[in-house]
Every structure is written in structure tokens, then in C-alpha cells.
Amino acid sequence: MSDDRKALFGRADEFMSLFKRGAEFSKELIAENERLRRKVLELEQHQNFAARDDGEWDKLRAELLMRIENLEEERSNALQRLRQLEEENHQFARRYVEVEEENNNLANLYVASFQLHSTLDLSEVVKIVIEIVINLIGAEMFAVYMLDEKTNRLEAVASEGEAAESFPKVPLGSGIIGSSVESGETFCGDPAGSDDYLKPIVCIPLRVQDRPIGALAVYRLLQQKDGFSPLDHELFTLLAGHAATSIFSARLYSQSERKRNTIQGFIDLLTK
């Protein structure tokens, strides 16, 4: 067989195969068309039947109404849950702010307490008290009074905003400062400020158990501070106890150091 004939038979086979596929596809299309036609007929019959039968319409309507009712109930429940979640969210946000504030307050109190007990040097303790009052409370003018047990008078040993010598010596039990130290009650007045050294706006008595040590009297706050916060009151309480203990400990340590040095001096004299 020549090559031309072979090529001709090959193209004929190809054409036949294509034709068969086309015929199969046409059969499939006819079958699908038939199926859809039956479906349309079915739906038309169903529609006609429903249109003719009131009972069927009522049933259909009842079903739809029930479905609508269910959907509305679901929507109402979803809205209610959304509102609950929003409320919970607000509560969490409020709680977060409260916890943050509490956290800050605790940090301030921790740092104040840590610093007060970080040294046994009396001048250092007084310096730390001053730092706390300036930086954590925000006072501009104040004085730290110490009780002279011989004269029973309170004398300013350190201050801010005015020289310590400017503040008067106050007898124990006299005026706001003397009474506060004697009673152990913190005095807290108008935060607007006072120019009268005998009338501070805050007086914190420094006491160890029932023993008066001194007082911290605040006369004026920094201009950007317009009142006392709950943290300030916590700091007043902390200073009343911890500053007094630190001052008392530092004094005892200083006395014992002096005694130890004196005794050591005697020992050295006797042994050398």
C-alpha cells in the first residue's frame, strides 16, 4: 500500500472516531434535555396541584411562617448573646483598667517600701522619705519633723521648698502637727495649700508602735497636682509605719555603732 493511501485511511479513522464522539455527546444532550423536560413538567404539575388545593397552600404557608418564626427567634437569641458579649467586654475593659491602676499603685508602694528599708544610715533614710514625698506624692513644700525626747518638741530636720530652720518647733500635743503625732492620727485637710507653718495640709505622724518618732508635714502640692488620690492615702499610711521604723532602726544602728566603737576603743587600750 502506498503512503498516500495509508495517510488517507488514517484520516478516515480519525474522522470516524470524531464522529462517534459527536454522536455520543448528542445522545447525552438529548438524555439531559429529556430529564430536564420531565423535571419542568413535574414542577408545573406540583404548582398546578398546589394552586388548586387550598390545603396544600395552607400547609406551605404554615411551614414558611414557622420557618420565619424560628429564624426570628434565632436572630433574637443571637442579638441577646451579642449584647451579653458586649456587656462582658465592657466589664473586662473596666476590670483591666482597675487591675492596671492597682498594679501601678502596688508598684509605687513596693518601690517606696523597698527604698525605705534599703539603708541603715539616718541621713539616707530622710533623703529617701523626701524623694518619696516629692516623686510619688507630688509635694512641693514639706518638712520632716523629729521628736526631741528631752524637750518633747518636734523640730524640722529636713525640708523641701523652704529651709528647715524656717519651720517652728512644735510642742508634742500642740496644734495640728503636735496633736497628730500624739494621737497617731493622720491629718488631711484642704489640698489647696497653706502658708501657715503650723497648719499643714497633711500631717503624717511617724510612730513605732505607740512611740512617737516625728512627723511629716506637707504644706503645698506641685502645681500640676490638684488633690489627693487613693494611692496618696496608701502612701501616707505606708510612710507613717515604714518611714518611722526605718528612722528608728537607723537611729538604733547609729547608737549601737557608736557604743561598739567606744567599747572597741577600750579593748584596744587594754590589750595594746
Partner: protein, 126 residues
């Protein structure tokens, strides 16, 4: 683990320094370096890299305003954010510090969360 943000705290009060370190510890990966006055701060900022500085105004040896002026005079420190933390609440004090190159001005007594918020903003943290 190396620090992601290095913060210099220039403050003469140990109480304030401890409080600021305490507050800034909440920044993940932050490392705080303390300086006790302006001169100490200048030494540290000149010899090391910092992403931000918190500076007090009233300090012995060298005050905060002079330190800010010197920092802004250095080409490599012109962009470093500076936050002033001070007792000086007057408007003119604020304006002077901002004019010298401070980015933020906070007054004492400080709120730790406010400091944290300002530092986060300046360091462009979440």
C-alpha cells in the same frame, strides 16, 4: 537573649529610677540602663547605643535641659526619642524642653502606665 530596645534612664532619685525600671520591665525585651545625673547620662549616651532616653530636669552636676541640648547637638543622636520626667509643671518649662528637642514632657508624680504608653508610642510598639 539580646535586648530589642535599650532605654537610658537619667534621674538622680534612686526611688524614681527603680519605679521607672519597674514600669518599663513590662516592655518585652527592653533593657534599662541607669544614669544618676546629666554628666553620667552624657557619658553613657555617647559611648553606647540607646533607642530612647528618659531624662529628669533637676539633677546635680548637669541638669536635664543641658543634657538634651548636648544630645541634640550630636548628629547620631538627633533622632533618639527623649521623654522628660520632671516636677516642673509650668507651661514655659514644658515649651523650653520641647523646643530643645524633647519629644514628650511628663510631670511628677508619674503614672507608670502613662510612661509605658508614651514609650510604646515613641518606639512604635503595639
Amino acid at each position: 537573649m539580646s535586648a530589642t530596645h535599650r532605654i537610658l534612664i537619667v534621674e538622680d532619685s534612686p526611688t524614681m529610677r527603680q519605679l521607672l525600671v519597674f514600669a518599663l520591665k513590662r516592655l518585652k525585651g527592653a533593657e534599662m540602663v541607669e544614669a544618676q545625673d546629666g554628666m553620667d547620662g552624657l557619658r553613657k549616651v555617647s559611648s553606647d547605643h540607646f533607642d530612647l532616653a528618659l531624662i529628669d530636669i533637676n539633677m546635680p552636676v548637669m541638669d536635664g535641659l543641658k543634657l538634651i541640648r548636648l544630645i541634640r547637638g550630636e548628629d547620631n543622636l538627633k533622632e533618639m526619642p527623649i521623654v522628660v520626667i520632671t516636677t516642673e509643671g509650668a507651661k514655659e518649662d514644658r515649651e523650653r524642653a520641647l523646643a530643645l528637642g524633647a519629644n514628650e514632657y511628663l510631670t511628677k508624680p508619674i503614672q507608670s502606665n502613662r510612661v509605658l504608653q508614651v514609650v510604646r508610642n515613641l518606639l512604635k510598639l503595639e
